[in-house]
């Protein structure tokens, strides 16, 4: 069964503000800054998921740590940063697949909404 997480209104509004304001400033900043806003937003969401009691805490914490370590490469190592974005997408896809194939204790493959 997919587990719910707790998200406070303050957390939701903070994430909402990040998304809306990022959309605005993407209209005048270099396009690749937009990738940074998205990956930074992912880090903020991971923080909420971790604090909200999501399962797979270890994987989420590790993924967040990697994002927070490497997102700054956008400024110092553009090539490494873009490579990291590709790898992060693959890493997340692998986790999604693992979750989709996970078998619950009753022997039924778990899916969202179970």
């Amino acid at each position: 069964m997919s587990q719910g997480i707790v998200m406070s209104e303050e957390q939701a509004y903070a994430l909402l503000a990040h998304l809306v304001v990022s959309a605005e400033i993407c209209t005048f900043e270099p396009h690749y800054y937009g990738t940074f806003r998205l990956i930074d937003g992912a880090s903020k969401l991971l923080e909420i998921m971790l604090a909200g009691g999501a399962s797979d805490q270890a994987w989420l914490a590790s993924f967040k740590q990697e994002i927070d370590q490497k997102k700054g490469w956008m400024m110092w190592d553009r090539e490494g940063y873009f490579q990291f974005l590709h790898e992060a997408a693959g890493t997340l896809a692998g986790e999604l697949k693992r979750r989709a194939n996970r078998v619950d204790p009753e022997g039924v493959a778990a899916t969202d909404g179970d």
């Binding site: 503000a17 990040h18 304001v21 605005e24 400033i25 806003r37 930074d40 110092w76 190592d77 090539e79």
Partner: protein, 194 residues
């Protein structure tokens, strides 16, 4: 004469040391910045060059954590949580009085930069950390800080005490630029003074 030269060299060494060792701070402690230190930074800004000595910028200091969080909500470039902000604003009323054409006159933003740089160097000399932020919503910052329509927030300086930070770089990441990478002498394309 020798003493005068020595004093001049020492002063230049001191200034260059501050310039070379300053870094952007991306993690701050919760320790507040003293009013005396903030006043020193504002004094540094006041001594910055200003085109035509027009002085069309105002500085808003924010120390209230709740207001800092509100600014952070509308400033995606504000990755860290500092204990103080100094927001540099263009005063459009003063600009109009000085006949400055804000849309055409690049010196307006250059003056923001010189004031900001003076503050960052002064902060570093005081042992404080700073981070410049330009990625924010002007309308958002104006709203959360209750700024009048006549003030345009141009730049946010995060100020605080530095927390330990570790920058992890990829092996083989790009190398640092040198002065020669950035400079021409006398004519475009000439990379040496000879």
């Amino acid at each position: 004469m020798a003493t005068e030269m020595s004093a001049r060299d020492t002063r230049a060494d001191t200034v260059m040391e501050v310039i070379r060792t300053r870094r952007v701070t991306r993690s701050f402690t919760a320790e507040p910045v003293s009013v005396d230190h903030l006043r020193t930074l504002l004094e540094a800004a006041r001594w910055a060059v200003s085109a035509g000595n027009r002085r069309i910028h105002k500085f808003l200091v924010v120390r209230d954590p709740a207001r800092i969080q509100l600014v952070r909500a509308v400033a995606p470039g504000m990755l860290a949580v500092p204990t103080a902000l100094i927001v540099i604003c263009t005063d459009t009323v003063k600009a109009a009085a000085e006949q400055v054409q804000l849309e055409k006159d690049s010196s307006t933003l250059i003056d923001v930069g010189t004031a900001a740089m003076n503050m960052m160097l002064a902060a570093h000399a005081l042992g404080l950390g700073t981070c410049p932020v330009t990625s924010f919503s002007q309308s958002g910052v104006r709203t959360v800080l209750d700024l009048p329509d006549s003030l345009i927030p141009e730049f946010i300086l995060l100020v605080g005490h530095r927390a330990p930070q570790r920058r992890v770089l990829r092996q083989g990441a790009s190398t640092k630029l040198t002065v020669d990478d950035l400079t021409y002498w006398e004519r475009y394309g000439h990379t040496t003074p000879e």
